[in-house]
């Protein structure tokens, strides 16, 4: 029997043949941490080791509360800077660079066939480039700093086949919300999820990142898209080092397969307070929204800006709705400026914020008040996510977000264009 992508990558790292279900001890190619690096550093020193095992393996990106919201956050950043300087960690990106899951690929660290761990659950994003990429905890990252090693269980593989031409304006976000709604929040628990099929092949790299980013919302250990010419073109001039594309063998054991035909898909929305509480927008349209958040590691990229501007250019957002816009990275911000998207959004009445995670974790830049409702292009609508447990969060695509900002209520974008 052939091997799955997951078995091949972890087998290669473990230096032996492995099958799903086995536990291996491996050294990652890349280990990413963000603002939590200060806490990880404390745990690292508590082990009793003074020098990091391999400073070159680590990428540290400040993004969760940038610039610092108060003295505590500022101290946290200061400790991160001191740690990376003391340990000679050169792959360090300070508050100017953007969200880790956007910056790490932009900087050429997300490579096919490589093993990437990040102390952030949405590290699954890098699977859009054919990497085996998963989230880990702070203590585990501290141990990687100390020893270079982590234990991982080789996951079983689930395949999600997407077919059909997407209707005009329906995006990868609608597709992913639809899939999570059907498979539910634990539908892919512990699984390596491979996204495949003609619709995925037609998707841009940015759209594929939406799928792998949110794979963790259905419990997946990794999300993966087989690299193709688009992936290789994207990596051209970006890749940090030579890489090898790794794919599942045709006769590998695929434990489950789900086929989704999206040719008639409508705009979708995840309703409070779970990501799998998914409905077509038409079923909840008219719900009053106080704030629209357009950004995050799920949907803060240039193609998302293009979608939003299609709706909002030359118009004003609703006077009772505020719209917060956060580009995923400085690179995206520069391109959005050059394309005139930022000016169009400012004209429309949106608030532009520094690239980073923004309000998504409840730290700053758009925290909600009790009784408020937000529609967000991010990936989680858990209670308290935007800093207030008496607020409600809906998740949708950038185009739905734009239409909602325009009318002040949850809106099917097809009704405002």
């Amino acid at each position: 029997m052939g091997k799955t992508f997951a078995e091949k990558v972890l087998g290669r790292k473990a230096g032996k043949e492995v099958v799903a279900g086995e536990i291996v001890e491996v050294t990652p190619d890349v280990a990413m941490s963000h603002d939590n690096t200060a806490a990880i550093a404390k745990t690292f020193y508590s082990i009793g080791v003074e020098k990091v095992y391999n400073p070159d393996m680590h990428v540290v990106i400040l993004d969760h509360c940038v610039p610092a919201a108060n003295e505590k956050f500022a101290l946290n950043h200061k400790e991160v800077r001191e740690f990376v300087a003391r340990q000679g960690i050169t792959h360090f990106y300070d508050i100017h660079r953007g969200i880790c899951h956007q910056v790490l690929p932009e900087e050429g660290f997300a490579l096919p066939g490589e093993l990437i761990v990040g102390s952030d659950s949405h590290s699954t994003t890098y699977g859009a480039f054919g990497a085996f990429a998963t989230g880990i905890g702070r203590s585990e990252m501290a141990v990687i700093f100390a020893t270079g090693k982590i234990w991982l269980r080789v996951p079983e593989t689930m395949r999600i086949v997407v077919t059909g031409d997407l209707p005009e304006g329906i995006s990868a976000k609608d597709v992913m919300l639809h899939i999570i709604g059907k498979l539910t929040a634990d539908g892919a628990l512990y699984k390596a999820v491979e996204f495949t099929g003609p619709t995925i092949r037609q998707m841009s790299i940015a759209s594929r990142m939406v799928l792998t980013n949110m794979a963790v919302e259905m419990g997946a250990k990794i999300g993966y898209v087989e690299p193709d010419d688009k992936t290789l073109a994207w990596l051209e001039g970006r890749a940090r080092r030579p890489f090898e594309v790794v794919t599942s063998d045709p006769d590998a054991l695929i434990e489950e397969e789900h086929v989704f035909d999206v040719s008639n898909l409508e705009p979708m929305v995840a309703c409070p307070h779970t990501v799998d509480n998914v409905k077509p927008v038409r079923e909840v349209k008219g719900v009053k929204v106080h704030q629209v958040f357009f950004g995050s590691c799920t949907n803060g990229r240039l193609e998302d800006f293009a979608e939003v501007v299609k709706v909002l250019r030359g118009r004003r957002i609703h006077p009772s709705t505020r719209m917060i816009v956060i580009p995923a990275s400085q690179q995206v911000l520069k391109e959005a400026l050059a394309a005139g998207y930022i000016a169009a959004l400012v004209e429309a009445g949106a608030v532009i914020v520094n690239p980073g995670c923004g309000p998504c974790m409840g730290n700053h830049e758009g925290i909600l008040a009790p009784g408020e409702v937000t529609l967000s292009t991010s990936n989680r609508n858990f209670k308290g996510r935007f800093g207030c447990k008496e607020a409600e969060i809906y998740l949708a695509s950038p185009r739905t977000a734009a239409a909602t900002a325009l009318t002040g209520t949850i809106t099917d974008f097809r009704e405002v264009v």
Binding site: I23, F73, G135, R138, S139, G219, G362, N363, G384
Partner: protein
Amino acid sequence: MSIIRGRAWKYGDDVNTDVIFPGKYTYTVTDPKEMAKVAMEDLDPRFAREVQPGDVVVGGKNFGCGSSREQAAFCLKYAGVGAVIAKSFSRLYFRNCINAGLPAIQCPEAVEAIQDGQSVEVDLKAGLVRVGSKSFSFPPLPPEVIGIFEAGGLIPFTRKRLGLE
């Protein structure tokens, strides 16, 4: 300690890391005592005030879904929780529990049987959850990770492994 005894705090399916340990505290609440005080804040305000050492948190399927935030495991440990029993766990939460030295027990039958507030006994060595007159067995941890758990968590395990104990 291989026998854990306490009251059950029973919750539903898909209890996520944000309601166990809110994101807004991720960079501001770091002291173990303070972490214990905000445990479950967005799910059950009674919990942190009334939880007793040895008490058991009981959840449905996909317990701990969401963030990699390991404070969602550590805050329960610091609050005195003896074990978490669930129908299933999110993979990150399960790992974080092992790494925190907090028993994460997958036992759907026990979850069905346990009522909120009821006395529960967990026998880690025997692999049994006892509820009233009934007992339910659960599978042992994989041998590769049992050492981590027995050492009291990943950090003490690593110290031992590196000869630093």
